[in-house]
């Protein structure tokens, strides 16, 4: 409990000192600007090229991450600290005669034609600059690598405990991971996929569950190497859902396709009516998987940050206890929600795979 409180205080600390810099997206050095909650929350939800830790006296302290660009002249790499925390296209980085600016977390070629302004706009107000292909290790990618490392450490350590234990009884970390693995096997894989095929899909389901869960939990920890909103990033959930979609489509048997395009046992007009609906269903299922995880985790982050922001919206220290109480309360709910979401994603993936390989008796 003490740890959680210290975490919440850290979050408040960051939010408090971050208020100024977040409130100035256009790069105005006006410190008295209104605190913009939307801006602060979106900044947290979005991906970034540096890991912002805190601000001290208006000076940002952040962890620089490598920027990797595929430009017209080949591969270019440099550290994001070269941009000097600038996100408004004011600082130009010169790498071997190529000039780059960062604007709203996107890297552009600097436009030198306009004197001291490096960003040019078209009629609709969008940035007209050319963009190199951005392959950077961003905050999200960094967070993902960290979660992978943690997963490997946890499961290698778990595997080692089994070589030491007598008769394969779980010891040490195994006491924590074995019930979870058995839970996925007994409550997800066996009932959804069936006894005949479930073992083929266990590695995938376990990877899904633990990968989503550890990333969700890491998003809830509000200090430096963690706190990235990775599983609330739609690209991340898209890839996971796409893997489920590909597996479902590839392993699907004849019966599955027959039930989609020519549903047996119903009159022909109904068959014609159902075929397009069922066909769309193939895509809607993984899309709903993608949006469910994205929305749940993003919403969790937004709710906690909004509750903390209440103090700054009402500009009253007396609101702090209520705000704190509610954010602790929501954080505790979120601990439950992130586990449930990882479980639901795994369960539905298993359900879709199970329905694709199910054998029907007509």
């Amino acid at each position: 409990m003490l740890l959680r409180f210290s975490g919440i205080f850290t979050l408040i600390f960051f939010t408090l000192f971050s208020a100024n810099i977040f409130a100035n997206p256009a790069g105005n050095s006006d410190d008295n600007k209104e605190f913009d909650v939307n801006e602060m929350i979106m900044h947290h939800i979005k991906d970034a090229h540096e890991f912002h830790i805190m601000d001290i006296d208006g000076h940002a302290v952040s962890f620089p991450l490598p920027i990797i660009l595929w430009t017209d002249n080949g591969l270019v790499t440099f550290l994001s600290s070269k941009f000097n925390h600038d996100d408004s296209g004011k600082v130009v980085v010169d790498i071997n005669g190529q000039f780059f600016v960062k604007y709203h977390e996107k890297i552009f070629y600097a436009d030198n034609a306009n004197g001291d302004k490096y960003i040019s706009y078209d009629e609709t107000g969008n940035v007209a600059n050319k963009k190199p292909l951005d392959l950077s290790i961003t905050k999200m990618v960094f967070s993902m690598f960290l979660s992978m490392l943690l997963l490997v450490l946890i499961f290698v350590a778990t595997a080692k405990t089994y070589s030491k234990s007598r008769k394969g009884e779980p010891t040490g970390l195994g006491k924590f991971t074995e019930p979870l693995i058995l839970f996925i096997k007994d409550e997800v894989a066996l009932p959804m996929i069936g006894e005949k095929h479930y073992q083929r899909y266990m590695p995938f389901l376990l990877t899904l569950f633990f990968f989503i869960w550890i990333n969700n939990v890491m998003g809830l920890i509000p200090f430096f190497p963690f706190s990235a909103n990775l599983s609330g990033n739609i690209a991340f959930t898209f890839v996971l859902a796409a893997i489920t979609f590909i597996i479902t489509t590839v392993v699907a048997n004849k019966d599955y396709w027959k039930h989609i395009f020519w549903m047996p046992g119903i009159p022909v007009p109904m068959k014609l009516f159902l075929a397009p609906i069922e066909f769309l269903g193939i895509f809607i299922k993984p899309i709903s998987l993608m949006i469910r995880l994205f929305a749940n985790i993003s919403a969790g982050h937004i709710i906690i940050l909004s509750l903390i922001s209440l103090i700054f919206i009402f500009k009253s220290i007396w609101l702090a206890p209520a705000s704190l109480f509610f954010s602790v309360f929501i954080s505790l709910i979120e601990v439950l929600v992130v586990a449930i979401q990882a479980y639901i994603f795994t369960m539905l993936s298993a359900l879709y795979i199970g329905s694709a390989i199910e054998e029907h008796e007509h």
Binding site: M42, K46, I291, R292, I302, I340, M347
Partner: protein, 79 residues
Amino acid sequence: MSLIIFLQETAVNYGAFAAIGAGLAAIGAGIGIGQIGGSAMDAMARQPEMQGKLQGSAIVLIAFVEAVALFAVVVSLIK
């Protein structure tokens, strides 16, 4: 994510409508979660020995209903 940012930058400010939409979604989710909770309590009262299983599936079902509400929240976030 870039889609959301793109839409935010280009769309007109429909903030009030977004808030109404989020409110309606909350009503829907409230009704759904209430139904699940009520039925789960009924079932538990009838068969107390099933309490563990019922609780588990009720929580999962609530997560499903909540997800639908959050779809709406995401849509109103996009504006």
